[in-house]
Symmetry: C2
Subunit: 406 residues, 2 copies
Amino acid sequence: MNVIKNGTITDVKGFKAAGITAGLKKSGKKDLALIYSEYKAVSAAVFTKNLVKAAPILVDMENIKSENTQAIIVNSGNANACTGEDGYKNAKKMTEIIAEKLNLHPTEVLVESTGIIGVQMDMEKVASGLEKIVPELSEEGGHNAGEAIMTTDTFPKNLAVKIEIGGKEVTIAGIAKGSGMIHPDMATMLAFLVTDISIDKKLLQKVFSKSTDDSYNMVSVDGDTSTNDMAGILANGAAGNTKITDENSEEFKIFKEALNFVNKELAKSIAKDGEGATKLIEVTTKNARTMEDAKKVSKSVITSSLFKAAVFGSDANWGRILCAVGYSGAELIVDKIEIFIKGEDKIIQVAKNGMGIDFGEEEVEKILKEEKVGVIVNLNDGNYDATAWGCDLTYDYVKINADYRT
Amino acid sequence: MNVIKNGTITDVKGFKAAGITAGLKKSGKKDLALIYSEYKAVSAAVFTKNLVKAAPILVDMENIKSENTQAIIVNSGNANACTGEDGYKNAKKMTEIIAEKLNLHPTEVLVESTGIIGVQMDMEKVASGLEKIVPELSEEGGHNAGEAIMTTDTFPKNLAVKIEIGGKEVTIAGIAKGSGMIHPDMATMLAFLVTDISIDKKLLQKVFSKSTDDSYNMVSVDGDTSTNDMAGILANGAAGNTKITDENSEEFKIFKEALNFVNKELAKSIAKDGEGATKLIEVTTKNARTMEDAKKVSKSVITSSLFKAAVFGSDANWGRILCAVGYSGAELIVDKIEIFIKGEDKIIQVAKNGMGIDFGEEEVEKILKEEKVGVIVNLNDGNYDATAWGCDLTYDYVKINADYRT
């Protein structure tokens, strides 16, 4: 597997993209993105579990059933959430306009929105934006699309990797956005992947769902789950490989591994760019009794405001980690727990048998000042491992969210 | 029911208390509290559900079974948590010393600790403190005890009320501490109540457990659940009422109502004094399908960092409330939801049918600037109501927790 330098979604055969300013953001920044496959493509997606679902999510939950999906239209600046019947009609209208211009059926278009909740879309601006964006589609448009889906993100998130499947070169790429309200179970987090592999639609949905569970759903910034979360993928077969239909095949395994890599790397970049974050935190739980327990523990630690504030302050507070392990809901034996703090090139044990041990506090503080802080919780009570990602809790998180106007 | 002005635990017949400096806090502030009943008393308590339980909690889970409980010894400055076998022995030692001085059996003494995790108690200081505190016991010592259990609290929490039971005057009073790590399911939160009522021990446990579920367990400051949480009550019968043994009696109902009042008021004062808090937030969910659903919704809103930061910024962001309702896990119909913001003397509706409505944003902002902010979520889908309490998320929360040394 090779990571393409500065790669993005338009590095994938048969995909074009564009990102423009439609005027939905007061800042005048790009706010409309379009991804288009020149060939027929199968799609898969996962959606927010929040009962309050934004209008475009409701539309997509229908459209994802289509055997062909060739376009994804996304706006930022307005989430089209809590907007009722009118909002639903507007989301549908977006798919209809794009479908007409690209000669598709409306159900062959996915739509997403991100931004402020509870305000109707300015459909005049949207319509004129849709008019402008189609001619902008190009094989260099991926980075622009990646920019156009951002809200409070501080950097765009693009990734592309190449693998070989049955002698054919296959590319998998994605753009993502994160920042506020990022939490397990698909909080305001968008990820759009494209690949030129040829694969059965049902198999794509199965592997994609599992992969998002281990990546985006293991990210937490503030514990809130949004109305608009979605991760989706299009696969258009342009690589020319023999269609993958068997999940036990070598080809499928290679694809799965690369897909997991792309999703995890995008998930990490989302965690790193959490609102106000100064550090990426990675919590790995080892040797839990079940996978569910391993995930519970990692998520519990990464979600603890007290632990996150301690990391911001570079305070080696293992007690807060152990405390979060204890209330995670996982089955475990406290006396068996070991905790380690992991830096760039050093691992230091801070707790053993469920108790603190003597350790060089200065050395740990040095690690806690690095850009990436690792925590390993070894439960010593089974064979399941799971990793979760998040960021520190800072003054800036409060500032951004105490006065957030688009 | 009458609230006693500046009332505290020593306003209850037959109870003495003391609060002194033993030197466990670097600040030199009071850090050792003793509550003592001159008469035999029955006790009830609820403990943290965290699997990582502090040493004194383990001791109390045994001692609470005793038919007689006449003393509670509490230190602040050190939580005696994650301290293993030595910690357990030290907690037991504290009950033994107090028992000897007060002529009790060690199992007739409850012990609690609050403060830093993972450090062994300085037993020399503790022992000399225990030596000093017993002679300090007095009928005016309640306020000192209330002060001595504080950690990052900014004000002591005392309350006492009088009721009449079968022609006898009965008093119920309590001291509490809160601040960091306060969350449903008994997070670092201590509440010690005393009453002179005569009541059956089992009945006391039953009514006390239920009452804490609706009060302390409905408070959230930061979502963390600590290793040391506990709420306990002693009832010594000094009021001279006929012993209450029937939960259907009028006397029991009067007592229950007063007990609920004391617990809820102490819970509210804990929420108000959350670390860095500037406002008390009260979220009431109405007309849920089940009591569990009503609690889930209220807790989900009060725990949302995004909502809490919006309240700090006096931002009328009903979308974040609706979003938190949606991911609460409660069964509900989004289209039926109404949301109201409630101030001192005004209620303003901000959402209807699961959507925002036009409202005077300035008026709502005025309410959000008050010291107490109310939110009412009407699910219009059943008959169950529940209230939760919390506080706003502020710069100071991050500051206190990024650099918390006792």
